[in-house]
Symmetry: C2
Subunit: 290 residues, 2 copies
């Protein structure tokens, strides 16, 4: 990551934050506000947390209200847009298209048929054609990026480090296929590979396989890394408290991500949960990975 300071100074107008689920949108809003820039939240109904949204200037919108977004964001003087929070690959029936979105629907349906990168690049293009500039959340709030070293006090063992290396090598090999940002490796055995199901579901699978005795390997690690050539404005890998809880249920020894290119929701809480569960949460130095 090269953005050590927020990329946008305060005189660039208000920042539109399109908010999915989880606490990340509010961490971003707080950081940007702290840097002196005004934020306007566009909270997606059914995803964004209503209890937290009310603390900020905000509008509610259903997924697919792109016409409404354009009108309101322009009125608020927002040119820069950040899309943040869990809403990865919603069901198509969750989209409630307004008139503008309806016209874009054939294109959107087409976008849904490719890999994640394909979908997200399509979304970015639509925003840009309408005069907005899509920024990565980490570009306006670098503090949401995973630092080097561990959150919490646990450290990986030598065996864990070997599993981490194998996981990273696998993710690198899988990278050209626009799939697989996460993998679980235990005692050099690849136990699970994430595709459309997402990290939480993959960890749940490991927990089940262990319960039924299908996995006799040691504890193992979850390794997440960005795909090569991934559009980092939209889809950096992320971890949150629920990732650590899922890893604990799966009996893992820890989690390894790439420092500077992984978004972390609530690092303090992650550290506390990790300590309680006896898991390490490690940010790998990016140069050591590439």
């Amino acid at each position: 990551m090269t953005e050590a300071v927020p990329a946008k100074p305060a005189d660039d107008g208000a920042l539109a934050i399109i908010c999915g689920g989880g606490t990340l949108p509010f961490a971003v809003a707080d950081a940007v506000t702290k840097y002196g820039r005004r934020v306007v939240l566009f909270a997606i109904r059914g995803w964004a947390d209503p209890k937290r949204v009310v603390d900020y200037p905000h509008y509610w919108a259903a997924l697919g209200q792109f016409g409404a977004f354009c009108r309101l964001a322009r009125r608020e003087g927002c040119q820069d847009v950040v899309l943040i929070g869990s809403m990865m690959r919603p069901a198509i029936w969750q989209i409630r298209p307004d008139l503008k979105t309806l016209r874009l629907l054939p294109r959107i349906f087409g976008m849904f048929r490719g890999g994640d990168d394909y979908l997200l690049k399509g979304v970015a293009a639509i925003f840009e054609e309408h005069g907005f500039r899509l920024l990565g959340a980490h570009a306006v709030a670098p503090e949401i990026l995973m630092p080097e070293g561990t959150l919490g006090r646990e450290r990986p063992t030598e065996r864990d480090n070997a599993d981490i290396a194998k996981g990273l090598a696998f993710l690198t090999a899988a990278s050209p296929f626009d799939v697989g940002q996460a993998v679980v490796v235990a005692d050099a055995r690849v136990l699970a590979i994430e595709a459309a199901e997402g990290t939480d579901s993959m960890l749940e699978r490991i927990a089940q396989l262990r319960q039924t005795g299908r996995i006799a390997s040691g504890r193992g690690v979850l390794v997440k890394a960005a795909k090569r050539n991934q559009d980092r404005r939209l889809d950096l890998p992320s971890i949150g408290p629920q990732t650590v809880e899922g890893a604990a249920r799966a009996g893992l020894a820890g989690i390894a991500v790439v420092a500077g290119s992984t978004v972390v929701a609530e690092p303090a809480q992650i550290g506390a949960i990790a300590d309680r569960a006896g898991l390490f949460v490690l940010g790998l130095r990016e140069q050591a990975v590439e």
Copy 2:
């Protein structure tokens, strides 16, 4: 595959067939008997089908009765051994060790900690150290291998063929990691990758993701291929009627495997189920894959 005829002539003594679940062990036993060689089944309790086992000379044994196997197989004059049927990576607690197995247990526990190839190579080594010769089921019964072309009447479309090519490319890239013999690809998007959970469980995942609207891609294909350098005596990819049923529940357009290096249980029944479900089941020419 080079074995166009069974590798072992009839005068090499009886063939010991260690039987896991499913119908494959009986297809092998029938073929070998037809070639004029005597078979003795060692049916694994809890896995082998008792209704079918009784039609052949047989012994019952719990998984882990290696001492009993050695004694009985030698008494029956079996030097050649085939291990066939579903028993992939049983839970360690399913092993009921006899005295000889007990002595091997530390080694077996170690074997369980690596990838599948690692486990299976360890099993093969143990048999060979005890004077047996482990053969691939397809070496004694080549008719269990998938032929080129389709079982049933459905054929892949051009779009399916593109998904098959992407799936094969992915499996080739994943191959050095001793994982991932199967993948589901739809409209060029990799939806699921098999690791420790097995093919049936992976197909079930796709069915669920589709039900909840998380997959908007087209029908898609299941692609299975042997790993490079895989020990083909023990772990060729296989498909059976339940694979076709799982693929149908997952909404797939078809299944593609590599002809000559995939084991097929009950090809006629597979063809019938595939026709009923409107799925293709395709054996790809091996040269076209490598």
